[in-house]
């Protein structure tokens, strides 16, 4: 029981990260109907920017008060990663708008290769370890088994991750439902041509969608860095595929769906490695992706696609 609760907490933490990345996929798919293959690498870029800013603040400028440092890292990383997201859209996707569907998929894969190799060349291929910054936690439960006592711990780190995700999600939902930008986005999602006729700047809206997705991916990158303490140039691929799975599981195009899907994927991965095997945890994620797409293509909260002849 204690083990189960502990895994549940771990799963929710991991799921929050996946959920934040998944939002980027789901928004882009909703608005232009393509898989932004480079989004996982944008997440990786965010993690690297967070690491650089964190090191500059702590070791070069000598800031010591951790909450302020992390807040600055968060904001700077979101800003700079957004610039990356915007550039990727501008270079690789905008020139191909209205072209046939395979072309942006190929440029997206090309962009993903470019980003990975750019980071590998400029930052080196070796992993970057960062010692744990936030330690300690609250003990929720205590139980004993044959092996000894088991503590159920909710670390401060996990609390911060889950809380930040909650705050961001609330703010984000408000942005989509209440502001004119959100309205423009939903309009473009439904009918791009009609939205353009009614005076919505479609190109700008799409760019902003990429920027928002990248900003959330940057938050996920910072959390990943703090939670695992190790990043390298290749983390984007797996995290990207899993987050995409989350987006599909929740129903692509649906924001609450992306978050729900992220949490589910996080839980499944953690329970799979906790109760079955660690080696095949990625197989679990990939199998779920295949199963969901085959049997439940519209996801849990998505709307079924109507096939028109």
């Amino acid at each position: 029981m204690e083990y189960f609760v502990q895994q549940l907490i771990n799963g929710l933490t991991l799921g929050s990260i996946y959920g934040l990345i998944a939002i980027g996929y789901t928004m882009v798919y909703g608005i232009i109907g393509m898989i932004n293959f480079a989004h996982g690498d944008i997440f990786m870029i965010g993690a690297f920017i967070s690491l650089a800013v964190f090191l500059i603040l702590t070791s070069v400028l000598g800031f010591a008060f951790l909450p302020v440092v992390l807040l600055i890292v968060l904001i700077v990383s979101m800003l700079f990663t957004s610039a990356w997201g915007w550039t990727v859209e501008r270079l690789a996707y905008r020139p191909l708008r209205g072209s046939f569907r395979l072309a942006p998929l190929i440029t997206a894969i090309g962009m993903s290769i470019v980003l990975q190799n750019f980071v590998q060349i400029t930052q080196g291929a070796r992993v970057k370890p960062l010692p744990p910054q936030i330690q300690g936690g609250v003990t929720l439960m205590q139980g004993s088994t044959e092996q000894g006592t088991i503590l159920v711990q909710l670390s401060y780190m996990q609390m911060i991750i889950i809380l930040t995700t909650l705050i961001l999600m609330t703010g984000f939902t408000l942005l989509i439902t209440r502001t004119s930008l959100g309205r423009a986005q939903r309009a473009c999602e439904q009918d791009r041509k009609m939205a353009a006729l009614l005076g919505v700047n479609v190109d700008r809206t799409i760019s902003l969608t990429f920027v928002m997705g990248a900003a959330l991916a940057a938050v996920a990158g910072l959390m990943f860095l703090l939670l695992y303490g190790v990043i390298d140039f290749y983390i984007g691929f797996l995290a990207g595929v899993k987050a995409f799975t989350a987006a599909v599981l929740g129903g692509i195009g649906s924001l609450p769906g992306a978050m729900l899907g992220g949490l589910l994927i996080g839980l499944i991965e953690v329970f799979w490695s906790g109760y079955f095997t660690v080696e095949y945890k990625d197989v679990a994620a990939f199998s779920i992706l295949a199963i969901v797409l085959i049997f439940l293509p519209s996801g849990l909260l998505g709307q079924p696609e109507v096939e028109k002849v």
């Binding site: 700079f80 072309a103 998929l105 290769i113 750019f118 060349i121 010692p131 990625d282």
Partner: protein, 485 residues
Amino acid sequence: MAGAKTNVPAASNRPAGAQRAAERGRQAPNIVAAPKKNKLKDSLRDAATAAMLVAVLGLFFIGVRTDIAPGGLDLKMRWTAWIVSILVVFGGRLALNMFVFQAHTPATQTLGQKIGQLGAAAPGLGKWLMRALFAFAVVLPFFFTTFFPGKDRQFIDLAILIMTYIMLGWGLNIVVGLAGLLDLGYVAFYAVGAYSFALLAQHFEFIGFWVALPLAGMLAALWGIILGFPVLRLRGDYLAIVTLAFGEIIRIVLLNWYQFTGGPDGISGIPKPTFFGLELKRGEGGFADFFGIEYAPIQRFIFLYYIIFFLALLTNFVTMRLRRLPIGRAWEALREDEIACRSLGINTRNTKLTAFAIGAMFGGFAGSFFATRQGFISPESFTFLESAIILAIVVLGGLGSQIGVVIAAVVMIGGIEMLRNLGFLSQVFGPGFDPVQYRMLIFGMAMVLIMVWKPRGLVSTREPTAVLKEKKRIDADMVAQGEGH
């Protein structure tokens, strides 16, 4: 360039005149466009924007580098590199603006038109070019041994590599180009082929390359059906993602099933191919001994080259033949319109499965060739990147175009490998400069640039299989790309 292109409807079933109208529409703005007055000012502003963007993007990547140091991570500032990169982008963008983008007629467009005119002026030219290319491929090993005796091994090895990708590209072209099924996990079949041969050779003494080749092909085809069956209902991007997932599952299983596949250690000691039972080795009983010629290590490379050349030609031949059979026409009908296809009574399930199976079979052949060439395989060689490269070759060359695959494979693989010969650059950029590490970066950039320049691939015409009266090439825009609607 986006403005002119977006007007072209993506639908493939346009009336005959629409094509010409679209062509005219595309050229029209070019004729009336007046030269810009503030060319210099605009160019400068644009270049400054680009430079600023690079400054922002590069700040934490080019300007700062984190390295592992005793007691944590170490920060290194590289402001010179950062400033140089900004200046290079500013200068490059300015030059491009002045001479290419804002010139009266953009250089890329004139080039495209010239190539088009050349093709129209001499309709037989393409055919002759292809024949010349084929003749060159036949004599290639001897060309290199005669004219580049010092570097022949390296060049023939490169030719083998390119030929392997051509074969894989042709195999994938059946699935993606003809049947219109977007497969991002093609490397799975490559892996199945390689591992089938390696495992068969490991467990059974008598199995050599030539026995294992058909077995590997059959096993890969079987896997093509097994993996194809669940995805029959999917199309477009979703199909791509599920095939990607299958490819990764196979790789992870190969990586973790230690008792069976050797896990990350891979399998080594895979037998070399024999020439009708003759091994290509030194001394008694070898190929050279039997024919009474002097043994040279290069003979093995020449032999390998001819094997893959033969296999690639087989792939091409079978594809071209299948295209004329009912099954090939069913594939193309499926690509154009799945619903219409079903209404006409074509069994879409069998059509899709045969496409998957035959594509996978050629992937399996190529895989067992890869195993015998390397002598060692491990899951490392079958990552998603490999699938992406093969798909990129097919799409960049022009989906469904056989010669396009050849051009794309030569340009992408050959061009990238040529970087290894650019050692002299290290004298310019300092001893730490290694052009090889930029390989994949340049590959990715080339993928993006070629797609933006020519979204339909380098070869922009297709030859329809079914014709009325005369055979003629059509524009690639007229062909559907497996979007499923």
